[in-house]
């Protein structure tokens, strides 16, 4: 299967590394031979019909920070690469943008139009235009999968839609952002202030220089919208979410909660068509009380009852578990 990688940052490079590592295994277990025919980043596109040398691509990216320095690469945009280069599948892994959804949105639409399957980790376009994207994919008869857009390595979308396909899922709640969970967990354990732990998290690289997306609940809200659409079938978009972040949580508040047997967690909840992100009191013994940077989601099912999944919510390599599972699922479907 010929694959195009659009976006060669943490996720795109992680995919290249895992594909190198798993080359033999994918062939043996699934008869799947992946050939990465193009890689695009903001600088341009490297292209080789017989497949790029992923080791070389990784070293070019590491040493120069721009894929245009790969031998023979051109200043070709992502949309151009999708339109002009022959391939079966596009992995869209550009940074998420919750205001416009770009450039991911255009990449995905171009992919569908070109008759290519799309796998993505990019939540912005999905949180803004879920319905449009899904119907465009359908109209063009291609597969569109996005497990990596929610919860990184925590399998929730495919679990709900495939493994739990006999259940009707009525509500979901969970911790969908690792950074805020890390901050709150550390505030709880060490009785430190929010500002202190945030600085620490930034120094460790757990939080972005601009942490707004995480701490204001925007990232959680984007993921919640995707779950509401993909699992509960609710036609919701980002602006439908009532959002409150964790910036006002104090060590004293955490201590008071602890005395009553609660921890404070930033919870995304969709229930009765109502989408909300807010800090909540979670009983210490509750399955949603997971520590550190972990993500967790609890699905309320009409047959199975409650099903809870826990996993690593981010990470260059861990996220590939979701991307690979999507690529393999598409491969199994199309090879017949």
């Amino acid at each position: 299967m010929r694959i195009q990688i659009i976006g060669f940052g943490v996720i795109g490079q992680g995919l290249a590394r895992v594909l190198l590592r798993k080359e033999e295994e994918l062939r043996q277990r699934y008869g799947l031979e992946v050939s990465v025919v193009s890689i695009t980043d903001i600088s341009g596109t490297a292209h080789a019909e017989e497949g790029l040398d992923l080791r070389k691509a990784l070293s070019v990216a590491r040493e120069t920070g721009a894929i245009v320095n790969y031998p023979g690469a051109k200043e070709m945009s992502g949309v151009e690469a999708i339109e002009e280069i022959e391939a079966e599948l596009v992995v869209e892994a550009t940074p998420s943008n919750i205001k416009t959804g770009e450039p991911g949105l255009s990449h995905m639409l171009a992919g569908f139009k070109a008759g290519k399957h799309v796998v993505t980790s990019n939540k912005g376009p999905l949180a803004l235009k879920y319905r449009q994207l899904v119907s465009e994919a359908e109209r063009n008869g291609v597969e569109f999968r996005f497990e990596a857009s929610v919860g990184g390595a925590m399998p929730v979308i495919n679990l709900a839609r495939e493994t739990l396909s006999g259940d009707r899922i009525t509500a979901i709640e969970g911790i969908l952002n690792g950074t805020t969970n890390y901050i709150l967990s550390r505030m709880t354990r060490e009785e430190l202030s929010f500002e202190h732990v945030l600085k620490e998290a930034q120094e460790l690289g757990y939080a972005e220089t601009d942490p707004t997306y995480d701490i204001e609940g925007i990232d959680t809200a984007s993921k919640l919208v995707i779950l509401a659409n993909a699992i509960l079938g609710i036609d919701a978009t980002f602006s439908d979410v009532k959002i409150r972040g964790i910036t006002r949580v104090t060590p004293e508040a955490i201590r008071l909660a602890k005395e009553r047997g609660y921890v404070i967690k930033l919870i995304g909840e969709v229930k009765n068509s109502h989408l909300e992100v807010s800090p909540r009191l979670v009983p210490e013994t509750h399955p949603l009380n997971v520590d550190g940077a972990l993500n967790v989601a609890m699905l309320h099912c009409d047959v199975a009852g409650e099903v809870t999944v826990v996993g690593k919510g981010a990470g260059a390599i861990e996220t590939q578990s979701a991307i690979l599972s999507d690529i393999i699922a598409i491969w199994k479907k199309v090879k017949g």
């Binding site: 709640e173 949580v249 104090t250 008071l256 909660a257 009553r260 009191l281 009983p283 509750h286």
Partner: protein
Amino acid sequence: MVIRMRVSLDLELKDEPGQLLLALEPIARHSGNVISIIHLREEERLRAGYATVHFTIDVPDKGCLERIVEELEERGVRVTKLGEVTKKSKLTLLMIGHVVDTDLRDTIDRINELEGVMVSDLSLAMPHPEKESSAIVDIEVSAGVDRHRLMERVYAIAKEKDLEIVRSLEV
């Protein structure tokens, strides 16, 4: 959200076969759900040839209960006792902000104003007079109280007083 109320009622039934069914039919017809039935045979009989049976049922609302009672009486079943069983549940709220300076007393009074709602416990943490303080409160909520309405009131107070509300998960 379907709100049900739990009701206990004592019925006087003729002490002969088939009478229980006579009482059950109206309950079922008006969406009542029987939780328990106890024959009070040991108790003093109000009328010879009759026995008192104690029912606990859940009904969707007061209207249904009224229709059940009406129909029982029409069938000659006397309702000798009727009362709502108050089944209370608890919710916990954490308030962060200038909890004391914005008149904590007033905050509690305004929550208590709602029927079936009562603040039952409160702990306070004040790290420094100028810094934001926190209070955690337990609220007892009677069965049948609309929790959404309660939370709307809480959020309205919080907005007015610039308090951050952290509510427990099940609410």
